[in-house]
């Protein structure tokens, strides 16, 4: 597969305009004072359906010829990508079949069904979702919408970066550093393509959970390495077993390094987003903000952008995080 280019991102932006929300770049005097930086937060949690995933899924389906998608589309995901594919398929009037683990959050399977998606449950321990998805896709003639390893998906996520670049330009700012939560690496690699085109010196950092730091190890090794199975983290949206081939190819040159953050720093970042920005950020969505606020990266005196990538968190989990502060 060819790597997506800045032109692919611009084409994606034109395709997505009627379907996605242009999310704001927020700022807090208190967070600027706390970090000693000019900190800008892209509030992608305010995106329709609560995460950036709508961008990539919509771009991927929009770019298919009507004949390719006529029977519908298929995907696997336990979370935000599932909801995004169901929503994007509905936009184009085609069915969506989503393979989801039987123990996926009920709120998320419920939302997929509410959007008209068909949910196929599988046993996470005994079954292989790739095999199940492949069989269904073949049987029903459905193209697969991959969560990150697809040039149209990466270009779609990159439109988030184009908006950031435009807003920074309007503010007369050039970013020194930009950080995005990362699992498969689709958002971070799209961000790298978007920002480095406009600001060649910007350093891009994907941010991942501690103990699940395959991006950092892959970049260091010069080859993709997988995460050990069974690692637990509050960042349920950042648990891909390995990053994508395309994000790795983009990131090998486009990422400065990767940063790993602890669950506690993620909780603190969620509380800061609540108190200072008045936005609801899910654990995985707060990883990049956590890297900055915890001091995992030194940003004093710099202009810094972080993406708050999603807000789909259950009320009881969020309440627990708020209570932790006491």
């Amino acid at each position: 597969m060819d790597l997506p280019t800045i032109k692919d991102l611009r084409d994606a932006a034109a395709r997505l305009a009627p379907h996605v929300r242009r999310t704001p770049l927020l700022e807090s005097d208190a967070l600027n004072a706390q970090t000693g930086a000019r900190l800008l937060v892209k509030a992608e949690c305010l995106q329709r359906f609560g995460s950036f995933k709508l961008r990539g899924a919509t771009n991927c389906i929009a770019a298919m010829s009507p004949d390719v998608r006529k029977n519908g589309v298929a995907a696997f995901s336990s979370g935000n990508h599932a909801i995004a594919v169901a929503a994007a398929a509905r936009t184009f009037g085609v069915p969506a079949v989503i393979v989801m683990p039987g123990d996926a959050p009920r709120a998320k399977t419920h939302q997929v069904r509410a959007l008209g998606g068909e949910v196929i449950a599988y046993d996470r321990v005994r079954e292989d979702r790739e095999i199940i998805l492949g069989a269904i896709a073949r049987e029903r003639g459905l193209p697969i919408v991959r969560p990150f390893d697809d040039p149209f998906v990466i270009a779609g996520q990159g439109t988030c970066g184009l908006e950031i670049a435009d807003d920074l330009t309007a503010l007369g700012l050039a970013p020194d550093v930009a950080l995005a939560p990362a699992s498969g690496g689709g958002l971070a690699s799209g961000l790298a393509l978007a920002l480095r085109d406009r600001f060649p010196k910007v350093e891009i950092y994907p941010v991942e959970p501690e103990g699940h730091d395959d991006l950092r190890r892959s970049l260091a090794a010069g080859a993709i390495v997988e995460n050990a199975p069974g690692v637990r983290s509050i960042c349920d949206a950042l648990m891909a077993q390995r990053m994508g081939d395309l994000p790795f190819a983009i990131g090998a040159d486009g990422f400065a390094d990767a940063i790993a953050v602890s669950d506690d720093s993620v909780r603190a970042a969620m509380r800061a987003a609540f108190a200072r920005l008045k936005i609801v950020v899910e654990p995985g969505g707060a990883a990049a903000l956590a890297a900055v606020l915890s001091g995992a990266i030194d940003v004093r005196g710099k202009t810094v952008v972080v993406i708050a990538s999603g807000g789909n968190v259950d009320a009881d989990v969020f309440a627990d995080v708020l209570r932790d502060a006491n």
Copy 2:
């Protein structure tokens, strides 16, 4: 005092441009489905310092001649207006003296001081804040920034309505109904001036806490009536004893009626804003959304705008509200 005009609102927008954030108009497919309406939520909780109050305070101080404000400004408030005046005074490089009740939330007195404001505490039971404020203002030669009964403050709050009008026009929509939380009536009357200029048929509703429904009773009586003392509500930001003279004069013609909402419906609206819009809304800030979601007003088939006017809520209060759902 003359009533502010649409020109005053436009002048305010020009003055405020460098100092306030243009907040987004959010929408949720789920809330549209739930209400049977096209529901647009002006997320003013994302404003700098967490509420619309920055608009009015900044416009009022910006419009003063440098000679008038040279010794600083004074205000009384237990909440968002206090923070807004301190922030606006800092913008213009002058001191702010804020008279606050001794039992005001520590987070709010702390924030006023962090912004360089001087806090004068008074005893809510034994002392009269008007007398204290008047004495300090005379002694030190400070103009008073009133929370709502001032044409510049109302024009500043009205800029929120101008942004709504522009965003609706860009979406090709004309609103049937618009609702704003109300206490003194500054925001709701500014909204009426802004929206009725562009959309003469729109119905404007201020929304207030049950048992504290002086706006509804004042509009019905054709004269300002006060609230009984001692009423309790979760909406701490909506507890003015009576509405302002200017908001009453604007509202007598500009408001369709006023609506009162229960604490429980406010909590449900805060949860809906959390789950569907991913924004943090304080109790008083959620009153207008509560009126729509509780069915206190029938909006089926209509295009409806509500202002989510602030997000300054303590973490433990917000966690309690989220837990209530169980």
